[in-house]
Amino acid sequence: MRHPTWDDIRRFCEVDDWTPTHLKRGRKRRDHDRFQKTLADGRILRTRASHGRAEIGDPALVTRILRHQLEVTVEEFWDAVDNGNPPVRPSKTATTPEEAAPAHRLEDWLAVQLAITVGLSDTEIGALTQESGMEAWTEWLERHRQGEEG
């Protein structure tokens, strides 16, 4: 599949008449452009585009953005970007997420705990199986409990 850039997302939003929006919380992160579109049936679509011009890269993320945020097929997306033709909704075909390399072989909660609570690097987490990851997590819990009791 051809890989879109963040500029392509911005171009699509322009062609499909999306409205630029601002952060609701006024938080620190302003490194994205944000857009939303209200459809005729009242549904509201929303998306964001990084200020960088690089390709989005992750094929699974791209297909989820197209399918769930923009609600278009791949063909409709590129027809809008390349030819300026906005899509006709509802879209005819759902876009199936492409395969992407999983970030690890663990359940997501375990990878997050090992990364943030235990402090393992992504490389170390990538080398773990679910079983060895659980061992690392339970060993950390045990040390943590002993530390609290001591």
């Binding site: 952060l23 609701k24 919380r25 938080r27 992160r29 209200t38 049936d41 009242g42 549904r43 509201i44 929303r46 964001r48 990084s50 390709e55 890269g57 992750d58 094929p59 699974a60 993320l61 989820r64 953005i65 769930h68 945020q69 992407a100 390399a101 999983p102 970030a103 690890h104 997501d108 909660w109 375990l110 990878a111 997050v112 705990q113 990364a115 943030i116 609570t117 690097s121 992504d122 987490i125 997590w137 339970t138 819990l141 943590h144």
Partner: protein, 144 residues
């Protein structure tokens, strides 16, 4: 069974209302021409919503970027490491909930997400609690 406490009485004796909720777990307050409200222990709601509205994520890696897609809000976080992607996702979750409270709750494709929104609202501004809500360890492996 607890009676509906009139608003003016609740307002005048809110300390007593608070004590009642701590002891009995619930107090209902009513005001003329308004829906009654229920004051309950937060942790009861946290547990209830956690059972009924689990979050689902998909974490992938490509070109040195970690991406985490959150099915329940159709949003994602990205970063050069898992912690960075989690931080970005939590920012997006807070932004989504703020947008939901302001506008999205009226939209047909967002209104039914209230259960997951409640879970984030119940966490207040505590990012650790939001992280725990989205990526919960099994109940028998909780650190606290």
């Amino acid at each position: 069974m607890s009676e509906i406490l009139a608003f003016h009485k609740a307002k005048a004796g809110f300390s007593n209302v608070y004590d009642t909720v701590e002891q009995a777990g619930l107090r209902v307050v009513g005001r003329r021409k308004s829906e009654p409200i229920a004051l309950v222990l937060r942790d009861e709601l946290v547990d209830l919503y956690a059972r009924e509205y689990p979050f689902t994520t998909h974490m992938t890696r490509s070109d040195g970027q970690v991406s985490i897609w959150l099915d329940n809000f159709d949003i994602y976080g990205q970063g050069e490491s898992i912690p960075e992607a989690v931080e970005d996702l939590i920012d997006e979750v807070e932004e989504y909930v703020a947008h939901w409270e302001e506008q999205l709750r009226h939209a047909p494709n967002h209104a039914s997400r209230f259960g997951w929104v409640r879970r984030i609202q119940l966490a207040g501004n505590n990012r650790t609690d939001i992280q725990q809500a989205i990526f919960p360890p099994p109940a028998d492996l909780v650190t606290r």
